[in-house]
Amino acid sequence: MPRLVTVKIDGIEIRVPSGTSVAAALALAGKQITHRSVTGQQRGPFCGIGVCLACRVTINGQPGCRSCKVSCQEGMEVITDG
């Protein structure tokens, strides 16, 4: 069994296997929406490889992070714009 890490997503703690991407953790927490577009539409991860930036969220206070490119670390705080 892989080690579990705890991350906080929009204030709610979730435990995921280490190596899980932040994008995956968001989906596991039931959050498919990462941000709203400039005209207010709901958007979620799209390209899956860090190119489109649709999966961008705030990680540990830093906005605009690509959640598909970052692995969950113990104690990480993630805030979506959904």
Binding site: P2, L28, C47, V70, S71
Partner: protein, 433 residues
């Protein structure tokens, strides 16, 4: 925070097959090598290390681990600071890499084409969704339509199936006639690939695979509900949870363009030794020709051997490398996109997903400059990576120019990185006096 500059003989950007092969080869000759990778770990899209990693990829990853090259994971190339330095950023830090030789191995991404409804959450790239699934994104039990074009649809579908997705259909836009021709060409150019495709076919035996079939639109509001496809002139509607859709690969050329490397016909121009038009800069892998893993490994090795001055060892690889490129050209011909899939967007369809610019809004413009100035098309966070590739196919617009930084970057990275390079330059001047 004073930042030091890491002095390297060879800096390689991108740790896919090409970058890894280059790093392993360069290290063999005692060259001080750094490998910069955007993802947390090395492997790229094909060799990414997952708990269920494959043995053949593990072999190269083990070589990389043993070779002594410095692997900088989770590190994004931001921009060059001067002619011989590259500024890179991590989640909470940044570095300046000074290089004597630079190998660009930034690989390729999927071509994602606009169609009505493609901004609805639940539409993904095909290989992209497979990648998300490998990193824990839950696809189990989801009903997925895999669509688009190219041989990557098969491994993508297989990965999704392995993670528990129900594949409703694999839709390949290329017609059956061209695919048969391609299979015949493969017998000579890449028989191993043919075998691989056959094995994929076996493992996907109970999944429907339609050729000459493509997605036309997506329905859904908060999440995807239905995908409409076209097959033999008829519309098919499939209720599903996810559309995984990629129309083949396009090279990641942003860094090469920023560095001033000559680009022709959508790829970085290189000579037989993988040298670009800029002295000291080499390119390998998919950005020089979309031709798959074998070509990536060979071209990465050749670039590193040339840097080490080992032309003798590189020369015997040239033949295989050029044959791999011919496979790439056959691939491009077989999976050429039909005009219908380039014209799926209607007036209301968003083309630039970052700035929500629709096809209708873009209609009056004939080039990037005006589309940028008037509608901010391609000026959002992705810097035109998605709409740029799409518009270069749909409207034949040349790609928008690349501007630094390549991706959204912390201001501290730019300031401190630039200051570190200036300080080093001043000190060097002082030494001379």
């Amino acid at each position: 925070m004073a930042k030091t500059i890491l002095d390297m003989d060879v800096v390689i950007v991108g740790a896919g097959p090409a970058g890894i092969a280059a790093a392993v080869t360069a290290s063999r000759f005692g060259l001080k090598t750094a490998l910069v990778e955007d993802s947390p770990g090395p492997g790229g899209q094909v060799w990414q290390e997952t708990p269920s990693g494959r043995p053949w990829s593990r072999r190269w990853l083990n070589r990389l681990r043993a070779c002594g090259a410095q692997v900088l994971g989770g590190t994004t190339a931001v921009c060059p600071v001067d002619q011989r330095t590259l500024l890179v950023e991590t989640l909470d830090d940044h570095h300046v890499l000074a290089w004597r030789h630079l190998i660009l191995a930034t690989g390729a991404r999927e071509l994602l084409l606009p169609m009505p409804g493609w901004t609805v959450p639940g539409v993904f790239g095909a290989a992209g969704l497979a990648r998300l699934a490998k990193n824990g994104w839950p696809v189990a039990g989801k009903k997925v339509v895999v669509a688009g074009s190219g041989p990557l649809l098969l491994p993508a579908a297989l990965t999704l199936k392995r993670y528990g997705a129900r594949i409703a259909l694999i839709a390949e836009q290329a017609p059956i006639g061209r695919l048969i021709g391609f299979a015949l060409a493969c017998m000579y150019l890449a028989p191993a690939k043919l075998l691989q495709a056959w094995l994929y076919g076996l493992r996907l035996a109970n999944v429907r695979y339609k050729m000459g079939c493509w997605p036309a639109s997506v329905e859904g509001d908060v999440c995807l509900k239905k995908v409409s496809l076209v097959h033999k002139g008829l519309k098919i509607a499939i209720d599903c949870d996810i559309l995984a859709c990629g129309f083949g690969l396009v090279p990641n050329l942003e860094l090469a363009r920023l560095l001033g490397c000559s680009i022709q016909q959508g790829v970085v121009c290189v000579d037989q030794w993988q040298r670009t038009s800029v002295p000291g800069i080499y390119a390998a892998g998919e950005q020089t020709c979309i031709a798959g893993m074998e070509h990536a490994i060979l071209s990465g090795r050749i670039a590193a051997l040339v840097i080490a001055g080992q032309y003798q060892e590189a020369r015997p690889m040239l033949g295989a490398c050029s044959r791999a490129r011919r496979f790439g050209h056959a691939l491009a011909r077989a999976f050429a996109l039909r005009p219908e899939v380039l014209g799926l967007a209607d007036q209301e369809t968003i083309i630039c997903r970052c700035e929500d610019v629709t096809a209708g809004q873009l209609q009056p413009y004939t080039d990037w400059r005006k589309a940028r100035l008037m509608k901010r098309c391609g000026m959002g966070p992705c810097q035109g990576r998605i709409c740029g590739a799409a518009l270069s196919h749909i409207k034949a617009w040349p790609y928008p120019t690349a501007r630094p930084p390549l991706l959204p970057t912390r201001i501290a990275t730019l300031i401190e990185g630039t200051m570190a390079v200036q300080k080093a330059a001043n000190e060097a001047k002082g030494d001379q006096i």
